[in-house]
Symmetry: C2
Subunit: 87 residues, 2 copies
């Protein structure tokens, strides 16, 4: 499956969450990760993040497309190079 | 079609871009809009935004799923209420 994961997370937790996400998905914009992943790995990833975030404050959306062929990504402007992303 | 639009835009242009996006899509996280839209309206939206952003600096990704049934959105944590989003 193909996943786009977006988040609004309290600043002091962001690095911890990103560290986990980088093991599973590709960091493509400051609050966006994407990539192909298995159901099992996605559940594992969500489980780890769920232990860090405050479910009353933080917000994570996971857009899932079973068949990667069913999603197209267009870009306007530049593709963010990983080193440009705020660490 | 269903669209998830994410962006990293220079702060001083963000309000202008959001103003346009709100005419076409739903603002769901600080740098995320989503919703169902026609090809024609999406092109019109992108044309308007393209006049505002700096294509060498700003980054907009448009994830397109032709059939809205092919995308599922899961949430971890809270659904951002529009008034909580940074204006």
């Amino acid at each position: 499956m193909f996943v786009v994961l977006t988040y609004d997370i309290e600043v002091k937790k962001i690095n911890k969450v990103r560290k986990i996400l980088k093991k599973y998905l590709v960091w493509t914009q400051n609050s966006v990760f994407e990539g192909e992943i298995t159901e099992g790995k996605l559940q594992k990833c969500i489980g780890q993040i769920g232990k860090i975030i405050d479910k009353n404050e933080d917000s994570i959306y996971i857009y899932i497309v079973e068949n990667p062929k069913n999603i197209v990504k267009n870009k306007l402007g530049k593709e963010k190079a990983l080193d440009e992303l705020i660490l």
